[in-house]
């Protein structure tokens, strides 16, 4: 069964450094998403991406964050100048269609630890 994959599974970085989290969505999906879960808190929406553009973003997704689909398979989340409060689990998701009836398939997550 196709699945969303994410690398690395765990990333440790120093405050102020840039990190890139990578995701390989399911191959025929067109919509891509990033979510964040600070330990012990809710899973929160960050951004959605379609047709090489951001289609929606939350207030969490500020200028520190950017997303890119550099090739036909990868979908990346870049965090510039990481802060301690960026430590969280980051989930990538993809879906074939947009809307409430269509499942978003989630990756296993990347745990980001900022020291």
């Amino acid at each position: 069964e196709p699945e969303v994959t994410q690398t690395p599974s765990h990333q440790v970085t120093q405050m102020g450094q840039e990190v890139i989290l990578r995701c390989v969505p399911i191959s025929n999906h067109l919509y891509f998403y990033w979510y964040r879960q600070i330990l012990g808190q809710k899973v929160e929406f960050l951004v959605s991406f379609y047709n090489n553009e951001i289609s929606e973003k939350s207030e969490i997704f500020d200028d520190q964050f950017s997303v890119e689909r550099p090739d036909g398979s990868n979908f990346t989340l870049k965090i510039r100048s990481t802060k301690l409060e960026d430590s969280a689990m980051y989930f990538c998701a993809s879906s074939a269609f947009q809307g409430r009836s269509y499942e978003q398939y989630f990756g296993p997550g990347t745990r980001l630890t900022v020291t």
Binding site: Y31, F45, F91, R100, E103, G107
Partner: protein, 110 residues
């Protein structure tokens, strides 16, 4: 936005006991997903309910959707330590976001 409130927030049960987790939505439910998460790990899809009154089962886990009450329940029969984790309900939206519930932490004592 859509708020999903789960109850209870946490649950500790003895192995072999049955339990129920509820998810109540602030808006009309057109469908609902249930996920399980081991603490600090990824999301495991359990099941999706699309229609009011729909009930689905997977192994010892049964979920039901009550559209009128804007609520879904997840029932585990004869709980086992392997059921331990955080259970999350979630809904899609007409837009791009997926909303998650507040989560229910389940501990099963052997």
């Amino acid at each position: 936005s859509q708020e999903l409130e789960q109850s209870p927030q946490s649950l500790i049960v003895q192995e072999g006991k049955n339990l129920t987790i509820n998810c109540t939505s602030s808006k009309t439910l057109y469908g609902l997903y249930w996920y399980k998460q081991k603490y600090g790990e990824g999301l495991i899809f359990l099941m999706m309910l699309q229609k009011g009154g729909e009930e689905k089962s997977h192994e010892k886990i049964t979920a039901k959707l009550d559209e009128k009450k804007q609520q879904s329940s997840l029932h585990i029969t004869a709980s086992q330590p392997s059921h331990a984790g955080i259970y999350l309900c979630g809904v899609g939206s007409t837009g791009n976001q997926f909303y998650f519930g507040t989560g229910t932490s389940l501990t099963v004592i052997p």
